[in-house]
């Protein structure tokens, strides 16, 4: 087998992935990217170029809030955590996403 290609992130799923990653507690940007990469067994990679603009957009939308804290290796890092609004948004998006995936799978199997 040749080199494994990374599938493109489905459009619109970046917010959902970030929100889901933060459900367990506050994380800094680097950790978010790493967590997504690890839990998808390196199938999903968030480009650094899109991660930070997305985080900032979510701050503006009010889904996240950010605080400076100390990282696991004792450095100053910016931690993001969900707001109640963000939690609500996550439920909404994952529900929609589940429905979409089920629908697609139905079509793929039966049609």
């Amino acid at each position: 087998m040749g080199e494994r290609t990374t599938p493109e992130l489905l459009p619109g799923t970046l917010y959902m992935l970030i929100l889901r990653t933060l459900r367990g507690g506050p994380l800094h940007g680097y950790a978010i990217a790493k967590r997504v990469k690890d839990s998808s067994r390196e199938d999903l990679i968030i480009e650094d170029g899109s991660l930070y603009p997305a985080l900032n957009r979510m701050l503006v939308k009010g889904w996240l809030k950010a605080e400076w804290g100390i990282s696991e290796n004792n450095r100053k890092a910016r931690f993001y955590q969900l707001t109640p609004e963000g939690r609500h948004q996550l439920e909404q998006e994952s529900e929609d996403f589940d429905r979409l995936i089920r629908a697609i799978q139905l079509v793929m199997r039966t049609a």
Binding site: Y30, D48, G49, Y52, P53, L59, V60, G62, W68
Partner: protein, 867 residues
């Protein structure tokens, strides 16, 4: 709302925000660097500044803020190079302004539907012979039959147009245009009275009491908008007439109607071959024009078989009424002018595009630096487009002023002349929308090529390349040359068109009218039937009036005449004594009815024989005077004096008239202002005029006599209005207005285009010379002469001119063919004009190249050291 507030607070904490972003990204890089020992982290991360910027954009009113930044940046760039900005803005202002002014006129003309609701569905129905060569009006019996049988039209109306005199206690007697219309006329036109009632079927039955509908402006001006006028009686041509209603403002259909009265058929109108009515109808719902044509054609053929002695060979002609009106006839001309002004705008755009391209070459380094420190390509393109749109919007703003000025100029150029109703010289919302759209589109149009080119700039090359950095070198020059060739092609088309218009105008003014038109005052008089019932009354009135006017100090001679020079002529069926009878119908003869003194007023000399005398004017002496053209055509090679002919008036042949003299040709037809047609002059008593012109030669400026003339007329009959009191020269100027005015407009357009095109050539040459200074220096240093360099510069710069000329000349031939309708005495492909146009263009081109060429020759070998 909440987001808005967050962004608003972020505005205050901008510095904090920036620090947060920087710290955060640095942390990320450190973490990534620890995880990835290969040092790929940085490369993987990409352009940090770019990410930072995009993050920051999230917090800001990004679009607006960066837009504002770009606008300020653009303003600074322009301020650094104000000459460039000024030339570009002026070029655009001229182009956009002229375009908007023209749009206003064209839009007004094509959207003018005579104030009719769905005017495009109103059709004029007329009779025509089988070949459609000659078209007649409709007779009342034909109209009645057609109206009863037609289904494809939603009602058929007929009318007759006549000037009337209105007199009552509300003011001086005045002359109005009155339409005698079948009572359904307003319903077919879909217009309803504002006050009172419409005409009804009862009003048009014979013997009904006279009623009238007033136009809104008549109501306002003469009766002060008093609603009590409805129900009162006024005198229309001396007949007491009941005012039954007032029409709404702006409703003047058909034609420029002041008053509407019912059309009551008289015994004369009951003749089926008395075709003096105009008929119009509205297409019934869902019916197509072709269906209506077929039906009316069938109906007319039925009438032809039922009434062969009057209708044989006649069929129907159905045309949309807006096609028959003046504005429509002007449409091709408007298309040409609109096209011409569009060309001017395109040339201006090409010019600015070229200047931007030239500037782009100098900016390659700046752009490269911006790209290197993190500006995205989109951002660069946007920046450049913002610059070009700023230029075009500023140009548009100034263009608005240019448009206002242009329309004022047009207005002043036609000052004192009666303007057609469709002529709109006011800028309105539509014009503004058009201007805005044109400004933005042109900004993007001429900005796009340079922007795309610059965004593709090769950063490494531009940064390494010591000085200016070139953008595609040869490539960009060829684009610039294409643009210049394009400008030249457009320009030669405009020049050819303008040249033909100039020649037309010159022809028009150099053709002798055939009489002395200076110092002649004209006015119109309409003698109402109620007071002047018999033809003798008409003759006697005019004889007495001429005598009175003759006696005024400052008057040399006064005369009554049916038509002024360039003012058309009358037409009668006629026969020449001894000529073989022609077809079924008698040929038509063009005639002018005049008093003998008309020839004195016009200072017309006699070519052969004599003129008729004052006594013969009034005594029915059975004489006539013919023009040279008529004599030559009717009796070629013979002496016309003593020959006889007779006219048919009111269906009866008149007495034989003996030709007593021949006069030179006088121009009568304003549509063919160079053609003298055969014409005869009838003494006034042979066909007395109810509606006539009075002309007088004065020894003082004719305008000063107007009041004296009016007073004399009203001393004779105080209920008689005098109207259209104007000098003959003023009237003739109006008839020539189209050609001379459009000639002037075309010339202005062409001149502007020429200047713009030579600026275009100048800027391209200047740019290429500035880039090749080094090369020229070397050439001079190794022994080249300045002649060599001049040849080099001119050969390179004039190539696009020659290519443009080659492409433009055949296109110009196509364009000038569209102008045919307004050309006078010159063919659309006139070689002299084309040669002159090419010559002018080449001269302007050489002038455009000369300045940069001179600079090239003066290059100092020292420039080599600057590198």
């Amino acid at each position: 709302m909440k987001r808005f507030r967050k962004r608003l607070t972020a505005l205050w904490r901008r510095r904090q925000l920036d620090r947060d972003l920087q710290d955060e990204l640095r942390f990320h890089l450190e973490m990534a660097g620890e995880a990835d020992a290969g040092g790929n982290a940085r490369r993987h991360f990409g352009n940090a500044t770019n990410i930072e910027e995009r993050c920051r954009d999230v917090w800001t009113f990004a679009r607006i803020e960066t837009l504002w930044q770009d606008v300020r940046y653009a303003a600074r760039t322009f301020a650094r190079n104000p000459g460039f900005a000024a030339v570009a803005v002026i070029a655009l202002a001229l182009g956009i302004g002229a375009d908007t002014a023209m749009f206003t006129i064209v839009n007004g003309a094509i959207s003018w539907t005579m104030g009719l609701d769905q005017g495009e569905r109103v059709m004029v129905v007329s009779a025509t012979d089988a070949s459609h060569a000659q078209s007649f009006g409709t007779s009342y019996p034909d109209f009645r039959d057609l109206r009863a049988r037609v289904h494809s039209l939603e009602g058929l109306a007929a009318y007759q147009f006549r000037p009337v005199n209105v007199s009552d206690r509300s003011g001086l007697p005045e002359r109005y245009y009155c339409v005698r219309t079948s009572a359904n006329g307003n319903r077919v036109a879909r217009q309803k009275p504002l006050l009172g009632r419409d005409l009804t079927a009862d009003d048009e039955s014979p013997g009904a009491a006279a009623v009238v509908l007033l136009g809104h402006h008549v109501w306002q001006q003469r009766y002060g908008g008093d609603p009590a006028i409805v129900g009162q009686t006024i005198r229309v041509d001396e007949v007491p007439t009941l005012v039954v209603g007032v029409m709404p403002p702006g409703r003047r259909f058909p034609e420029d109607t002041d008053l509407w009265t019912p059309l009551i058929p008289t015994s004369a109108m009951e003749k089926r071959d008395s075709r003096s009515l105009m008929a119009y109808g509205r297409l019934a719902d869902g019916v197509k024009l072709t269906a209506a044509r077929t039906e009316l054609d069938t109906l007319m053929r039925q009438l032809a078989s039922e009434f062969p002695e009057t209708n044989r060979g006649l069929t129907a002609e159905v045309q949309p009424i807006i096609v028959v009106t003046g504005a429509y006839a002007m449409r091709p001309l408007f298309a040409v002018l609109f096209g011409a002004v569009g060309f001017v705008l395109l040339i201006a755009c090409a010019d600015v595009a070229n200047m931007l391209l030239a500037r782009a070459a100098g900016r390659a380094r700046e752009i490269s630096i911006r790209v290197a420190i993190g500006a995205g390509r989109v951002r660069i393109i946007r920046q450049l487009l913002i610059e070009s749109t700023m230029l075009s919007l500023t140009g548009g703003l100034l263009g608005w002023l240019v448009a206002i000025g242009g329309l004022r100029w047009f207005d002043a150029g036609t000052g004192g002349l009666v303007k057609p109703p469709w002529l709109n010289l006011k800028l309105d919302g539509a014009a503004f929308a058009y201007l805005a759209a044109v400004s933005i589109v042109t900004g993007v149009l001429f900005g796009l090529a340079p922007a795309l080119r610059l965004a593709k700039v090769d950063i490494h090359g531009a940064l390494k390349d010591g000085g200016y950095g070139t953008v595609g070198g040869r490539h960009s020059l060829s684009l610039a040359n294409t643009l210049v060739a394009f400008e030249m092609a457009l320009c030669v088309m405009l020049l050819a068109g303008a040249g033909l218009m100039i020649r037309s105008t010159a022809n028009l003014y150099s053709t002798p009218i055939g009489m002395n038109t200076a110092n002649v005052l004209t006015m119109r008089i309409n003698l109402p039937e109620a007071r002047y019932p018999r033809e003798e009354d008409l003759v006697r009135f005019h004889e007495a009036l001429a005598t009175r006017l003759d006696a005024l100090p400052g008057v040399e001679a006064a005369a009554v005449v049916s038509n002024l020079p360039l003012g058309g002529r009358m037409s009668f069926p006629y026969e020449v004594e001894g000529a073989a009878p022609g077809g079924e119908r008698l040929p038509e003869l063009d005639a002018i009815v005049a008093a003998a003194s008309y020839f004195r007023v016009g200072q017309v000399p006699v070519r052969r024989g004599r003129l008729f005398t004052d006594r013969e004017t009034t005594s029915r002496a059975a004489v006539t005077v013919v023009n040279e053209n008529f004599a030559a055509r009717t009796w070629p090679g013979e002496n016309p004096i003593g020959k006889r002919l007779r006219v048919v008036r009111n269906h009866t042949a008149e007495a034989w008239l003996t030709v007593v003299g021949v006069v030179p040709d006088i121009l009568q037809d304003f549509r063919h202002p160079l053609d003298h047609s055969p014409l005869i002059y009838l003494p006034h008593s042979e066909a007395p005029l109810r509606v006539a012109y009075l002309v007088a030669r004065t020894t003082v400026p004719p305008g000063t006599m107007a009041e004296a003339f009016r007073t004399e007329v009203q001393r004779m009959d105080e209920g008689l209005p005098v109207y259209e009191v104007r000098t003959l020269e003023n009237r003739i100027a109006e008839n020539r207005l189209t050609t001379s005015l459009f000639g002037a407009i075309c010339t202005v357009f062409a001149a502007v285009a020429l200047v713009l095109a030579s600026i275009g050539l100048y800027s391209v040459t200047a740019h290429s010379v500035s880039q090749r200074m080094q090369e020229f220096g070397i050439r001079l240093a190794v022994g080249g002469t300045s002649g060599d360099i001049l040849r080099l510069v001119f050969r390179q710069s004039l190539r696009p001119l020659v290519i443009g000329l080659m492409a433009g000349l055949p296109l110009a031939l196509v364009v000038t063919h569209l102008l045919r309708a307004v050309l006078t005495g010159v063919s659309p492909g006139d070689p002299v004009t084309f040669l002159a146009a090419s010559g002018v263009l080449v001269l302007a081109g050489v002038a455009g190249c000369a300045i940069p060429a001179r600079r090239a020759v003066r290059v100092d070998v020292v420039v080599l050291r600057s590198e």
